[in-house]
């Protein structure tokens, strides 16, 4: 006792509050849990929203723009950057060649999509993806020890770390691609590919991708090329004419930001053949703006749970007031002021809220862990439990203040306790 009491006024109050919480251990526990759920949910909702927004709009993308068939910019970005949705169509190889040789373009990487392995997208591309592309400034794809990148002329594949983890594929494994972007066991290609490398984790959607040479995509059994307008089917041992080749998209990195503006004018506003999704972050931000109402509803629900938690503090303390009237009368008879008794109850409510808020971090971690697993499995975007968000301070502090506020009503009741009347037992 001495340590708390020697702290002075607040220490004395805590001494009384701790005993009260201990005496009402069960109701305290239940209330703490409800506060923990409210605070944890609030923090999780805001953190997931913020991290998702950052990951989809300004995260480690590594490209400035995507060139694709005429259509929706959003669909193009979702399909190529996040490996979701279907491709809006194909571009002739000549467009890829032209933009690749444009001096304003630093990097142009072709993507050909349309196959999968057990739901994981297979992307045909050039080996620039390993040598030139940086998914984050200064960070290129790294093949894990024991592996290597694919040979552009062989039926070889490099897989993302998440693919390896989920499918069990490893260096030396052989697999058959399946046609289409969604898994259908009846759509198995006859071609067999050998894994030559597993990439180090990047915590980007690329972890969910199987990379093969783009030539392999052209030559996949059953695939036809229509780059020239006529149907062409590749034959073994025979070079594919460039005019027949086509790509799903071209991933671009510009030498300067102005290039994007100029190309936006020439391709999107004046041209009719292709679409340039630029800037990628803005395309995704527009999507988030459109679905902003979902965020608002989630935030509203989280706030509602917090308010219910505060109400549960009020109810649990208020309900104990009748049985505690004698306790307050005794404290008053011993010399405690009305203000002291009032403060004890407010501090008790705030303590329950603070305890619940601390436990709320465990709830937050659990929700984020579960949410992270789902989001990573669906999009490849990885959420970080330890990523700071201001709600991690504002949430617990706000909840504690709200808890203290909810203690005011029962505290007023304690404040008004008549000492003389309540000093004798009621039964």
């Amino acid at each position: 006792m001495s340590a708390l009491v020697k702290m002075g006024g607040v220490g004395k109050l805590f001494f009384i509050v701790i005993r009260s919480l201990r005496q009402h251990a069960l109701s305290t526990l239940v209330t703490v849990i409800s506060v923990a759920l409210g605070t944890g949910l609030l923090m999780a909702v805001f953190s997931i929203q913020a991290q998702s927004y950052r990951a989809f709009t300004g995260g480690p993308i590594g490209y400035d723009a995507v060139l694709g068939a005429r259509g929706s910019q959003l669909q193009l970005v979702l399909n190529t950057v996040f490996h979701l949705e279907t491709s809006p169509g194909n571009l002739p190889w000549s467009m890829y060649s032209a933009i690749k040789s444009d001096p304003r373009v630093e990097l142009a990487i072709p993507y050909a999509v349309g196959d999968n392995y057990h739901g994981f997208r297979i992307v045909g591309t050039s080996d620039d993806i390993f040598t030139g592309y940086e998914y984050q400034r200064g960070h290129k794809f790294q093949v894990q020890p024991g592996g290597r990148v694919f040979n552009s002329t062989a039926r070889e594949a490099v897989i993302g770390s998440f693919v390896a983890q989920k499918t069990g594929l490893k260096v030396g494994s052989i697999f058959n691609p399946y046609h289409g972007v969604y898994f259908d066991e009846k759509m198995k290609h006859d071609d067999q590919y050998t894994i030559t490398g597993v990439l180090e984790p990047t915590n980007t959607p690329s972890d969910r991708v199987i990379w093969i040479p783009i030539d392999g995509m052209f030559r996949m059994s059953g695939h036809v090329l229509r780059g020239s307008g006529k149907t062409y089917q590749a034959k073994a041992g025979e070079a594919i004419p460039d005019e027949s080749k086509e790509v799903s998209s071209v991933m671009l990195k510009f030498r300067s930001p102005q290039v994007g503006f100029t190309m936006d004018q020439t391709i999107n506003k004046q041209g009719k053949v292709a679409t340039l999704a630029w800037p990628i972050g803005k395309v995704m931000a527009d999507l988030f703006d459109k679905i902003g109402w979902i965020n608002k509803i989630m935030a509203f629900v989280a706030y509602l749970v917090v308010v219910v938690a505060a109400a549960s503090i009020l109810a649990s303390i208020y309900n104990s007031m009748n049985e505690r009237r004698r306790e307050f009368a005794i404290l008053r008879a011993l010399g405690a002021r009305r203000g002291t008794v009032f403060s004890v109850i407010v501090l008790e409510a705030a303590s329950i809220a603070a305890l619940g808020s601390v436990c709320g971090f465990f709830v937050y971690a659990a929700i984020l862990e579960a949410g992270s697993l789902i989001i990573r499995a669906q999009t490849g975007v990885v959420l970080d439990i330890f990523q700071f968000h201001p709600v991690m301070i504002a949430g617990p502090v706000g909840m504690t203040l709200l808890g203290a506020l909810s203690g005011v009503v029962p505290a007023l009741k304690a404040y008004r306790t008549d000492v003389a009347t309540n000093l004798t037992p009621s039964s």
Partner: protein, 232 residues
């Protein structure tokens, strides 16, 4: 020198039937430092109200209570609380120990709102009342007699000038009542505290050198109904 002086003290309640019932009407009463007086009063004679007025728990309608040189009538409620904590020890018939506190914590709680907690003194008080090996027991783990001894130790916790005892042995059997009474009187003597005890028990009253009839001090005691009847 008077540690307590009462002048023209009056307190009345509004009865449920709308009539005003006078419960306390004390023209004059004084208690010297270290003096021990027993007041004999039957149920309804206003003894608890009188003690609560002296303790500053209730505010008088009229008159003056001077405690240790300070007039309670002129003090705010908060200051009366402080005076009570510093100068008064109160022993109740029902002990009024807090059940979620140990014996020593109950005594220390008595110190908390006064000059400050002195754990060593709290311990020595409990040792003096024979509870050396019961310091960490909660009230429900103690016998009734032991609970009353904790209450007595708590009343002495702030080295008060005045101890008020309201039927302190009312819940004890005769043997325990006598030893409890002897103990509280001894504690008051050792701490030079005046003792004002109210009781209707002749066995208790018989042990005091000075016994006064409450009705001789409180003019309202003769003509009022029972106190409980009035206040309810």
């Amino acid at each position: 020198m008077s540690i307590l002086e009462i002048r023209n003290l009056k307190k009345s309640y509004l009865a449920p039937d709308g009539e005003i019932s006078h419960v306390v009407d004390v023209p004059h009463f004084a208690l010297e430092a270290g003096q021990q007086i027993a007041l004999q009063g039957s149920s309804g004679s206003g003894k608890t109200t009188l003690l609560n007025l002296i303790a500053g728990i209730l505010q008088a309608d009229e008159g003056e209570i001077i405690l240790a040189g300070e007039s309670l009538s002129s003090l705010s409620e908060a200051k009366r609380d402080l005076v009570r904590a510093k100068h008064i020890g109160y022993v109740f018939q029902t002990f009024n120990l807090l059940q979620n506190y140990t014996a020593i914590e109950n005594v220390e709680l008595g110190m908390m709102f006064g000059p400050g907690v002195d754990s060593g003194f709290a311990r020595s008080l409990l040792e003096e009342v024979g509870l050396k090996d019961r310091l960490d027991y909660r009230p429900r783990q103690l016998s009734v007699g032991q609970q009353q001894r904790v209450a007595m130790a708590r009343a002495m916790a702030n080295r008060p000038n005045l101890v008020l005892a309201d039927e302190p042995t009312g819940n004890l059997d005769r043997t325990h009542a006598r030893s409890a009474l002897a103990l509280i009187r001894q504690l008051c003597r050792e701490n030079n505290a005046a003792l004002l005890l109210v009781s209707h028990d002749h066995d208790v009253l018989g042990q005091f050198e000075r016994v006064e009839q409450l009705s001789s001090i409180n003019r309202a005691a003769c003509d009022s109904g029972t106190e409980e009847e009035v206040r309810s």
